[in-house]
Symmetry: C2
Subunit: 589 residues, 2 copies
Amino acid sequence: MALNSLNTATPVGKTKSGSLAHYLPFLNWLVNYRREDLVGDMMAGLIVTIMLVPQGMAYALLAGLPPEVGLYASIVPLIIYGLLGTSRTLAVGPVAIVSLLVATGVAPLAETGSGEYIRLAITLAFLVGIIQLVMGLVRLGFLVNFLSHPVLAGFTSAAAIVIGFSQVKHLLGLSMPSTEHFYEQVFYAAANFTASNPVTVAIGLASIVVLFYFKQGLGRQLKRLGVAEPLVVPITKSGPLIVVLGGTLVVWLFGLNETAGVSIVGDVPAGLPPLSLPYFDLSLWEVLLPTALAISFVGYMESISVAKSLASKRREKVEANQELIALGAANFGATFTGGYPVTGGFSRSVVNFAAGANTGLASIITAVLIGLTVVFLTPIFYFLPKAVLAAIIIVAVVGLIDVAAFKHVWRYNKADAASMIITFGAVLLVGIETGILVGAAAAILLYVWRTSRPHMAVVGRLGNSETYRNVLRHQVKTCPHVLTIRVDESLYFANTKYLEDTVLQMVADRPEVKHLVLIGAAINFIDSSALETLESLISELRDAGVEFHMADIKGPVMDRLQSIGFVDEVGNDHIHLSVHDAMQVLNCT
Amino acid sequence: MALNSLNTATPVGKTKSGSLAHYLPFLNWLVNYRREDLVGDMMAGLIVTIMLVPQGMAYALLAGLPPEVGLYASIVPLIIYGLLGTSRTLAVGPVAIVSLLVATGVAPLAETGSGEYIRLAITLAFLVGIIQLVMGLVRLGFLVNFLSHPVLAGFTSAAAIVIGFSQVKHLLGLSMPSTEHFYEQVFYAAANFTASNPVTVAIGLASIVVLFYFKQGLGRQLKRLGVAEPLVVPITKSGPLIVVLGGTLVVWLFGLNETAGVSIVGDVPAGLPPLSLPYFDLSLWEVLLPTALAISFVGYMESISVAKSLASKRREKVEANQELIALGAANFGATFTGGYPVTGGFSRSVVNFAAGANTGLASIITAVLIGLTVVFLTPIFYFLPKAVLAAIIIVAVVGLIDVAAFKHVWRYNKADAASMIITFGAVLLVGIETGILVGAAAAILLYVWRTSRPHMAVVGRLGNSETYRNVLRHQVKTCPHVLTIRVDESLYFANTKYLEDTVLQMVADRPEVKHLVLIGAAINFIDSSALETLESLISELRDAGVEFHMADIKGPVMDRLQSIGFVDEVGNDHIHLSVHDAMQVLNCT
């Protein structure tokens, strides 16, 4: 396999910005569309539909919206993303965390399920569309890198717990007051456990068991039974559909909604999505803005992570800023067709990929099938118990709680593990939006803290080579009158005092030293605070009879030092290209 | 001068923690006190008193407190600092920025100058004492390093402007409503300019002229006239005293307070400071906490900066955590003797140093002289016009506006200049406490942003040396099948995607490359996000037929990579001690 494949297989990433195909990525696959791509696209489109119908309704329930809103959000946004997105396998639509954020943001402003509530959710989709579009156009896609993996992992695990517990009331058939903190839900459920509806509980638990069986045991059994490979994925992924149909049948046959008080979905209007408009009210937008920002950011994070990871498996590339534009446009689509905020979902995208999606056409096929569903099949869902939808959500989010990731990070790096724990705890205790902000801030502060006490090594010559390494780790040669120190960090405000104190201490401990050589191999920049400190360090050393040298300073750092006159201050003959040069000049080889 | 001097001249910094002299630094100078130290200490003590009497009253006015409070805060706190502080020349007492913070924090809670107002200021001193003491005991002194020089410079300049404009009402003899934003004061003064008291304006402007003359022209003239050197400093520093006496005389002689409505200080009670107590009220403490934190932090910053800079001039050392303890204790002293929050002041400390202060005794002498002043001399201040005190404050803060520092930083580093401008603007527009927080956050985010797109260089061999440098900057040898990349940054979450994208692009642009060598000389750590990215990068390169090598990885980084099994993944033979080693193995020398 030639390296060129990196080039030829990444048409999307390589399109010149400004070209038409850059802004309309579907042109890339449309002009080269082959008949054999169609089988995979159709298969993937169908399987994702089977997952998306129950999930769409379930996530709408989680967001406090009527079930049809989840289906509406799964039509036009998917077509738009299929045309504008740079990922060929991303499955856009309602997702759990975004749905939870919608509920958190809208619930204080209107009664759950009311017309006002729905229109507020639509307004959120509108704001998210604007934010993502603007971020994409001004090329802020890189911002996503400021959230570290541990923070994201901590956030996802905590959000999964919050989401899971938010469904306990449906599972128990309790009508519970909405609360600010998730643990209040837990307390309430525990205190009112005896009031739960036993039939509802039975349906919910049975659904959970079936769903877990489809997710874990069934695949192996099918293979053992010799079922053809291409059939295994569709069957194992139809778990949600099976429990929806089963639950509906049971309730309908025994009239459980009336005889046993099982809470059901009820009327789901038939027909294509209605045209809808957001509220145009600046003061309301201001109230919704924090939630809209959180959804834009978190939604984009989830989407880009899965898109990138799937693309790299097939040597395709996703383009961060175009992804923001595509997701923003998809949210506009949701706005005007009765939906609510959408993004690329993790599990459905993986299924889409595994089922063989080759191009954005898979997404468009899913949209058409969901369209047919809302036109013809909604009466089926009348008797669907809400406990089944709750079970679907719970099983979906349990897999997001990632204990192994935590153990791995803990073993590698305690600071990263700390930021993970802080994010996890903050999301659970303070709330989902503040939690992720706290986590992001903690990660950045831990990073600054880590760089504020840089590793510093005294180095010496390794054998007869020109390599100079830490005297504590290697058998090296040094000479008493020269102290050669490598600072393993850029010099900036947070570590400049530490550097000064440590160097002065090192020199004070070695009265025989006449020359100090500071190695710049690991110094990537020197900010103005550090520059001041270096100047005072040099004069302190001079007063103490020690000459200051620098070696192995990088080009960009040197340019700056030269421009400000620092090089003249140190003396041009005290600045050496390499450590070895310095040692030769100082008679220490 | 031997290097040992760094050792012997730093008795304070070198005392073992746990020893008595560590916690009671005055023992260090007391046991070695020489008679010749006394002259300098007495002279400095006297000169600082001459400055401090008018400044203390002026800063109390700025804080919205009666003038005697400023004097009370200049007695016991000075004695306590003299005994506990590690700086021998720091002059503690009321300072401008802390006084402004007191006014900002207390004004919304009580009527200016009322008994309640005073007791709230005392409570602030109590809280500041607790905070600084705790910070010192848990060794948080290093936190001060997280404020960069540009942020501090921007903060100081903006605070000087806010302070200066807060005195315009006294200078014009206007009674102005207290406002939230400093620019409202400016608008109000401009709009009501015609209502100002002309006699007050005349006194104020005359004081300003005299003060500037004492500050700038007088010293030169005295020297030209042949005045003995030791007398020059006392005379030039007595400007405030002169305008206080002159202004008082003029008002008293012509009865200007009655005939012309000049606002005067009025009765200043005679006698030693009263015993006083803070409010013990948790909910009130909660309200005052943000202000107390700001005072603790900003006060400590101002104090430690001047203490360190003066100490280094005499090869003494200040110990950050003991300084916090000493300042905290000084604030306790202020709490119980009718004072308000204090810290080490910049200008008075410089004068103390220049006037020859040798030990903490200078501080104690100042305290005794101020004590004598409040017992015997307060009747003198009855006719003192407030405009004179305003003039003293304005002249003191004008010097803090540092345009040269801004120009210097701008020339060296635009990101540092940006954080300076942001801090400056935020303090002026949003307020003094929020402003410094915004500035500190901006500096940290700019730093993260800077490290998020690291400099990366392709390197080659320099002549026949073992030195490998940037191909764009040096005449070096490379070979087509090996790509050697130096990344000039630690690898962590903010730059990991950038690294992956850039490396893949570089490899894609060079189809002939079979080996990629990543140089770790500038990589000081690899966090868990970056580790994941490296793993996926390696597998992507492997799929493209490129082998991944690492060279010159530092000890601490290597230890971690080894512990997590990453080294086995890369292959032990693909990790090289130096770049030159790698090149030899890859036949590229």
